[in-house]
Amino acid sequence: MTTTLVNPVPVGNPVEPFLRSDRMPHIWCPGCGIGTTVNCFAEALIESKVDLKTLAIVSGIGCTGRVAGYVKLDSFHTTHGRAIPFATGMKLANPHLNVVVYSGDGDLSAIGGNHLIHAARRNIDLKVICVNNLIYAMTGGQTAPTTPGHATTSTSPYGTFEPAFNLPHLVEASGAVYVARWTTFHVRQLSRSIQEAFNKKGFSFIEVISPCPTLYQRRNKLGDGLETMKYYKEKSKTKHGCPTSEVGLTLNGEIIVGKFVDRDRPDYSALLKAQMHESLGEKYVDYDEEQGYACSGDGGCAEDSCH
């Protein structure tokens, strides 16, 4: 009789190797969905077999911005709204990197809005995970460009009345090649979308609707995190390929989720190289495969530890 090999029981949470465990527990509130998105991100990294050494994660300011500090990767917690341009610089200086931008709706679409649309226009090869809790959470619950109408926030105490951004529509119009939206209820789908984004070159944007129980949900009497998750489960409708003009959100209406855009356009680096080759021919010095732009002398910045 052959002895069946028994796989050892996994000793830990598959997410744990991706976390800076020495910084746990994190600061996010009970019922906040950001941590859930991190689980999906970790699973996507495992499944897509991305080389973690090449992974850099850049975040802005806000609750979601804190993700960078909690994941055990080369991580950069930058300034409010500017994760995307920072990530752009990083990607251009070292095209071998897989650069992920992980930030919130206010950070990416308000103060960072200009950078969002330009990076999408340029089709910079970035994977943007936008956790949209429809509010500025970290600073106490102010109106964000994504806050739906008739919501109560600390800066709209009598109710919001501004039209809100439809983020998938915005980034599609700007040129993103991959646009998807899920909620924190859709853990498997979200993970899969992140994987798909890793397999894609160009500007990918994944919006994740998430509860902010302490501020958005509480002020609008929408229950706690769990009730919000049940609302997501009940009211979300998967419509792959739905025209993004139709996926706007309201205070307690339907949430259309799915993969809305998946197209192919040459990314910024491909366009740059093509143009340079065409114009300069042999005179163009392409990105140095060995050294990148880091080394600027005979031996480089530090001979032995140069990547």
Partner: protein, 106 residues
């Protein structure tokens, strides 16, 4: 201090051999949001009456035999406080695994 927070509890599955999976709970990280309880497909969990040091009621396993080890609880948990994993398939030669009763909550 931080080390305590990291200690996974003993496997939450009471040693019923039929369970395909089991769950581990890091009690000190839990904020009792209830996601794991709600979204476990086989309703293995419920919030316990115990408290962790922050005053939250962490979940406990109420139906260990129903755990499939799918790790949906782990996927949902915003606090990285719980995860599920599949039990290893029992080798044919040893059809009956040890029926160890293990405490599942602190």
């Amino acid at each position: 201090m931080l080390a305590n927070l990291r200690e996974p509890q003993a496997p939450a599955c009471g040693g019923n051999v039929a369970a395909k999976g089991r769950v581990s709970i890091v009690v000190e990280r839990c904020k009792a949001c209830g996601f794991c309880v709600e979204f476990c497909p086989t309703k293995v969990l419920a919030l316990s009456s115990a408290f962790n040091s922050k005053g939250y009621h962490p979940p406990h396993v109420i139906a260990p035999e129903k755990c499939s080890g799918c790790d949906l609880c782990g996927m949902y948990c915003p606090d990285f406080a719980i995860y599920g994993h599949k039990n290893p398939a029992p080798p044919k030669a040893e059809a009956k695994a040890d029926a160890k009763e293990v405490q599942n909550e602190g």
